[in-house]
């Protein structure tokens, strides 16, 4: 059985804790990277991460893109929607198709 983790600033993630996900309140990128590696080693299938935190962990996100589990999904936090989550989807399209055809691309 796999667990679900939520990472980000405390205010953004405690609601998810009520649903039964495991919260990891972290805002420091270096510490978050360390924690993320640790989480990936353990039995987690999905890691929800706030966009604010994810934007500082681009290298880690790319690293876990190709591996099977965990799936790292960016979600907007209390600081608002930065569009970083959509960016990840766009990235997949560009990688597969060669150019962005879904989002009316600007690249």
């Amino acid at each position: 059985m796999h667990k679900i983790a939520v990472m980000g600033d405390r205010d953004s993630i405690y609601g998810f804790a009520a649903l039964g996900m495991e919260p990891f309140p972290i805002t420091d990128p270096t510490e978050a990277a360390k924690k993320l590696h640790q989480i990936a080693e353990e039995n987690y299938a999905v890691v929800y991460m706030t966009e604010a935190l994810g934007s500082n962990l681009q290298k880690e996100l790319d690293r876990y893109r190709e591996s099977d589990l965990p799936a790292i999904i960016l979600i907007p936090g209390t600081s608002g929607n930065t569009g970083a989550g959509m960016e990840q989807v766009k990235k997949s399209v560009v990688q597969a198709v060669g150019s962005d055809i879904i989002f009316g691309g600007d690249n």
Binding site: G15, Y48, A71, T78, Q88, V89, Q95, A96, I102
Partner: protein, 228 residues
């Protein structure tokens, strides 16, 4: 473009011809695989986009309530309220195979039988905004999990499509033309060798006949007679 030197023998020719057949078949199969992957991927990525828009919208609304709850409640009360979550979600993960890509499939299991069992606090000291926040998050939970599933699938498929496309291109633009070129050059060399040996044989035959029957001398004699 055949940069590598090949020994022009019949054995090599047979080998290359066989290689070309395999390369062509591989190319056709990989192309089919790429097209099907692409079709599936595009459908999936559209779903991904729609899901994401919906989820982001819902989380935004939930966060709004959450901020309100924080504003109306003291930090300690909020922390205590959410300290011991009653509910626990576990995922059973299996994989589904789409064109050799293993994409994850999640099956949700909650610890308590009632999935609506999300309020892990007494209502006495908390504000209703907290209830709304938790409720709206609980409502999008299925979408949230589906999003994780779909987004991960998209990432994995994008990877596979990229790889397949490279292989198709390598076969189409490098391996197949190169092999054709090599086959062509070997065929040419073998034909040339064959013509050369044919001519040599004809020449030898001429020389042998000449030696036996002295055609040339007779020809000269006859010409001399006519001239006389």
């Amino acid at each position: 473009m055949a940069s590598t030197y090949v020994i022009p023998t019949r054995m090599e020719l047979t080998r290359l011809k066989r290689k070309l057949v395999t390369a062509r078949r591989g190319h056709k199969l990989l192309k089919d695989k790429r097209d099907e992957l692409m079709r599936q991927f595009l459908a999936l990525v559209r779903e991904n986009r729609a899901l994401r828009e919906r989820v982001e919208e819902a989380i935004k609304a939930a966060n709004k309530n959450f901020v309100l709850a924080r504003a109306t409640m003291s930090d300690e009360v909020l922390t205590t309220a959410l300290m011991a979550p009653k509910q626990e979600i576990r995922l059973e993960t299996t994989t589904r195979n789409i064109m050799s890509v293993d994409i994850p499939v999640f099956k949700v299991e909650t610890r308590t039988a009632d999935p609506n069992d999300i309020y892990c606090y007494g209502y006495a000291f908390t504000s209703t905004d907290l209830d709304y926040a938790v409720k709206s998050l609980a409502d999008i939970l299925p979408d949230l999990l589906r999003l994780a599933e779909v987004e991960k699938s998209c990432q994995l498929m994008a990877d596979e499509i990229e790889e397949t496309r490279r292989r198709v291109n390598a076969l189409e633009h490098v391996t197949i033309p190169d092999t054709e070129e090599m086959i062509h050059s070997i065929t040419m060399k073998l034909d040339e060798a064959e013509r050369s040996s044919q001519i040599r044989l004809m020449k030898v035959k001429d020389m042998m006949l000449e030696k036996e029957h002295h055609y040339k001398e007779k020809l000269v004699e006859r010409a001399a007679e006519k001239g006389a």
